[in-house]
Structures are given as structure tokens and as C-alpha cells.
């Protein structure tokens, strides 16, 4: 890769959201801005390797993209088509246009406006997630499609529909009233977490690459936290996703799923673990926080218990059970009850785990049966374990996990 390619990749990675925001402030044309910027990047990929990267790559892209939009606007003038404009807030209309050279805080405010627009609660959550990755971070549509396990044309259509809906429904490019902002930031967090979990959702085929794509969701959380550095929900969420994501390289070995106790802990990303630990020590998390923040923080503290155990046998399972109890008080879910049952089994043995599993029901999926099978096997009941493994294998749709279940069943003898 040449220096020019590196420069282009870096500027797209770091400046995409700012460029989109500035172009939206200037033209208010959500339908043109992304394509114009895409064209500018394409032009850069042709000319920079020949002419060398410009001194200010972001300004070069901005100028080129602006010209593309102006060209399109001239064409429209000829055809006399009138297009609806994005609604922006009153402050922005008075301030007029912006450039990359404007004060940092103004441009940061524009990026926040962009994030709040993309994650507006009037958009369907999956559409909002996809749109945020595309407009705020510049993640290519084919990567977003792979993350959400849909064909690329489907994802492209979903993103286009979301952009049309923003214009049509009057969703503004604006920071809302202070009384509404905390709720809106909760929605930003939920939108980013949805993209993250999509990367780890069991797919119907080999999905090793998708964990890397979940890293883009981590980047989304980090970007928004950069705009609102003391926002509790974002602090807690970044800690959570960093801890979960830090295990990605150890989760799969030679195409097989590796469960937490069997993971090679030296392959965890310990720099990310450390960053998460310091986020969990952030003073904003010691104050009263929203339900969502508390739930993210508790899930992160559970993940942190695993991260701080150098060996599986060092895990403080009693502490893990206590954290799950707190989480279930706050936000009861079958998934958390299942995970608590696993922790109870580790702390007090398979019989206690099976008792804790009593009444946990997740109708779709194989996980409850898989855990029951494992605990029955450990408790010395291979006949019941075999039946539970059969049930799990019949319900499992993920190739990697299926291989794991078959292996465990075979090991019963």
C-alpha cells in the first residue's frame, strides 16, 4: 500500500463524519451528500497515488465533494425538480455555512447533530444502526450488510429508505431540548450496542469476520463518547463493548467456538481490558444513573470479573452471581437468568446450577438446552445429558457452535 493510500484510508476513517456533517450544514441534501463524498474518495484513490496526497487531505475531499454537490444542484435547476431539504435547527440556520477550519467545538456539535439524526427514535432500530455506521463512520455498505447478515442490495435499500424517511418525517439535524437529550443519548447507546451485538449474533454460516465488524460499533461508541466525554451511558457502554470485544481472537480456534473457560487468555486484548477497567472507575458511574446505564455498567462489571481472572479457576464466581442478581433486579431477562445459572453452577456445583436453570425458557435457540446438557454431564447423568445435547443440536443454527455441541455429545461416550 502506498503512502497516498494510507493517507486516504486514514482521512476517511477519521474525518468521514465531520465531512458529512459539514456538507449537510452547507447543502441540507441528505440524498446527495453521501454519494458526493463517495465520489470524492473515489477520485482521491485515482489521483493521490499519481500526484501525491495533498497537504490537507480532509479539505481536498471537502472541496471535491462540494463541487460534486454543486454540479448536481445545477443539473436539478435545469430539470426544475424541487427537492425537500433536511430540517436543521434555528441556531444553525443563523450561523450559516462552515468550513473544516472552523472552531473544533462547532464542528463537534455538527457531528453530534449527525449522530442524533441517525439514531432518532422515529427510525427503526436496525435502520438507525446501519445509517449511523454509514454516515458517522463511513463504513462501506457491503460491510454493514455482512454485519447484519443481509444481502448488500437489501442493506443499500434500507439505508436509502432511512434517509428518505428523515426528510419526509421531518427528523431534524439538531440537538434537542435539554429535557429530552438524556433519553436521546440512551437511544444513541442502544443503537450502537445493536450494531455491536449484530457482529456477535450467531449466523447461519461461518462468521469469523463479523467479530471484526463489531469493532466498527466499538468505534461508533468511542466517537460519540468523544463528543460527550462525561455521558454515563456512553462510559458504561464503551466499557462493556471493549470487554466483550477484547476476547474476539480467543473465541474461535481453527473454526471452532472456544468457550470462556477454555479460552487462551493471553490472546485477549489486554490493552482494551485496561481501558475498560479505567472507564468503570469513572466518577460519573458512582452517581445515580439511568436504568440503561446501570444495566450496561453491571454487564461490564460481570465481564470485568472474568477479565481480571488470569486463570478460569481464579474467577470470583460468588461475585459474578451477586452481579447477576443485581442485574436481574434491574432488568430481568431470560439471557441473564441463563448466565446466572452458569455462574451458580461454577460457584456451588452442577446441581445448584440445574436448580437455578429451572423455569428459564428461551423458545428460539439452543442455549438453555446446551447449558442443561453441560450441567447434566458434569453432574454424572450422561443419559439425560445426551437427550439435552440432542435437543440443543436440533435447535442450533450456527455452524461453529454446532460443531462444539456435537463434540461435547460425542465425549459422553
Amino acid at each position: 500500500m502506498t503512502a497516498a493510500d494510507d493517507a486516504l484510508e486514514q482521512v476517511v476513517r477519521e474525518e468521514w463524519g465531520r465531512l458529512v456533517a459539514l456538507l449537510l450544514v452547507r447543502f441540507r441534501r441528505l440524498d446527495l451528500v453521501e454519494d458526493a463524498l463517495g465520489d470524492a474518495v473515489e477520485a482521491a484513490s485515482r489521483t493521490w497515488p499519481v500526484d501525491g496526497a495533498p497537504d490537507n487531505p480532509a479539505a481536498w475531499l471537502m472541496t471535491t465533494a462540494r463541487r460534486r454537490v454543486l454540479d448536481r444542484l445545477r443539473t436539478e435547476e435545469v430539470s426544475r425538480r424541487k427537492q425537500a431539504l433536511l430540517v436543521t435547527d434555528a441556531d444553525l440556520r443563523q450561523e450559516g455555512t462552515r468550513t473544516m477550519a472552523d472552531a473544533g467545538s462547532q464542528v463537534e456539535d455538527d457531528v453530534l447533530r449527525l449522530v442524533l439524526m441517525c439514531t432518532h427514535p422515529a427510525l427503526a432500530p436496525e435502520a438507525a444502526s446501519a445509517l449511523s455506521l454509514r454516515l458517522v463512520l463511513g463504513v462501506p455498505t457491503h460491510d454493514i450488510a455482512r454485519l447484519f447478515l443481509v444481502p448488500e442490495p437489501t442493506m443499500a435499500a434500507r439505508i436509502t429508505r432511512a434517509k428518505k424517511r428523515i426528510i419526509g418525517a421531518g427528523i431534524p439535524f439538531a440537538v434537542p431540548d435539554a429535557t429530552v437529550l438524556p433519553d436521546r443519548l440512551d437511544t444513541v447507546a442502544q443503537t450502537a450496542y445493536l450494531a455491536f451485538t449484530a457482529g456477535y449474533a450467531p449466523g447461519s454460516g461461518p462468521d469469523l469476520l463479523r467479530a471484526e465488524l463489531a469493532g466498527e460499533a466499538v468505534r461508533l461508541v468511542r466517537t460519540v463518547l468523544g463528543l460527550r466525554p462525561d455521558e454515563p451511558v456512553l462510559v458504561a457502554l464503551l466499557a462493556l463493548v471493549l470487554l466483550q470485544h477484547s476476547r474476539r481472537d480467543a473465541r474461535v480456534s481453527e473454526g471452532r467456538l472456544v468457550l470462556l473457560p477454555d479460552q487462551d487468555r493471553s490472546r485477549w486484548h489486554h490493552d482494551e481490558v485496561e481501558e475498560a477497567m479505567s472507564l468503570l472507575a469513572h466518577p460519573v458511574l458512582t452517581r445515580p444513573v439511568t436504568l440503561l446505564t446501570a444495566s450496561y455498567a453491571l454487564q461490564a462489571r460481570i465481564a470485568a470479573e472474568h477479565a481480571r481472572a488470569l486463570r478460569p479457576e481464579d474467577t470470583r464466581w460468588e461475585q459474578v452471581v451477586a452481579l447477576y442478581d443485581a442485574l436481574l433486579d434491574l432488568a430481568p431477562s431470560p439471557g441473564a437468568r441463563l448466565a446466572r445459572a452458569v455462574a451458580v453452577a461454577e460457584a456451588h456445583g452442577p446441581a445448584a446450577g440445574l436448580a437455578a436453570l429451572e423455569g428459564v425458557d428461551i423458545p428460539t435457540g439452543h442455549r438453555v438446552a446446551a447449558v442443561r446438557a453441560e450441567l447434566l454431564a458434569r453432574g454424572g447423568d450422561p443419559v439425560a445429558a445426551r437427550a439435552a445435547y440432542d435437543q440443543a443440536i436440533a435447535a442450533c443454527r450456527n455452524e461453529v457452535e454446532l460443531a462444539h455441541l456435537r463434540e461435547r455429545r460425542a465425549a459422553l461416550g
Binding site: 425537500a84 430540517v87 432518532h120 418525517a169 421531518g170 431534524p172
Partner: protein, 117 residues
């Protein structure tokens, strides 16, 4: 933008007929507060707004194969609970949502009008 706000159902509220006199006047106070907030807000105007008669007084008109038929009652079950509407000019969806929080907690549908120009 112009929005048609349909006040569809009572949502978490009990039916109007079960309200005490005090509760009824509280509801009326909220409607007045909504009107006042709209008047004060720059770029916002209530262009029209009415309470609507119940489903027994509704007539539905359907034309099929060029033949028009009238039936008693609402077009669809959701609309059965249509209690009133506003036509509001507002700068954007967020401003409208903020103002609508003043109203009693009805279920609502917000339909933007198409700008003909």
C-alpha cells in the same frame, strides 16, 4: 412542515366517561396548555384542531368497481378510537414531539403533509 396529529386512543388513560369532574378539567387544562405553548413557540401554529364524534356517528365511504357504498362505523378498527385531531405547522418532528408531551398521554399518529411546491 405541516403535520396531521391524530389522537387515536386513550393509551394508558382511562376512557373519558370514567374520568371524575376534576380529572376532566385536568385534561382540558392540558389541551389549553398545549394551545398556549404552540402560540408561544416560534415557527409553530395550530392550523386546525377538533374533537371528533364517536364511532357510532361515523360513515365510511368505499368505491369498488365504480360503485360507491356507505357503511356505518369507522374505516378500520384502529380508527374506531379516533378522538380528535390537530393540524399543526412545526419546524420539525422534535419540536412537535416536545409540544405533544403537554397533551394527555393519548396514542397518536403523526402524518406529515406533502409539500406541493
Amino acid at each position: 412542515m405541516k403535520y396531521l396529529v391524530l389522537l387515536i386512543g386513550d393509551g394508558e388513560l382511562k376512557p373519558w366517561s370514567e374520568h371524575t369532574a376534576d380529572e376532566q378539567s385536568e385534561v382540558m387544562r392540558r389541551f389549553e396548555a398545549f394551545d398556549a405553548a404552540c402560540r408561544e413557540r416560534e415557527g409553530v401554529e395550530v392550523l386546525a384542531g377538533e374533537a371528533l364524534a364517536g364511532p357510532t356517528h361515523v360513515t365510511t365511504v368505499r368505491t369498488r368497481g365504480g360503485e360507491t357504498r356507505l357503511t356505518e362505523g369507522p374505516y378500520a378498527e384502529v380508527i374506531e378510537q379516533l378522538g380528535g385531531f390537530y393540524l399543526v405547522e412545526a419546524p420539525d418532528l422534535d419540536v412537535l414531539l416536545e409540544l405533544l408531551r403537554i397533551l394527555p398521554a393519548y396514542d397518536m399518529q403523526l402524518s406529515p403533509a406533502v409539500d406541493p411546491y
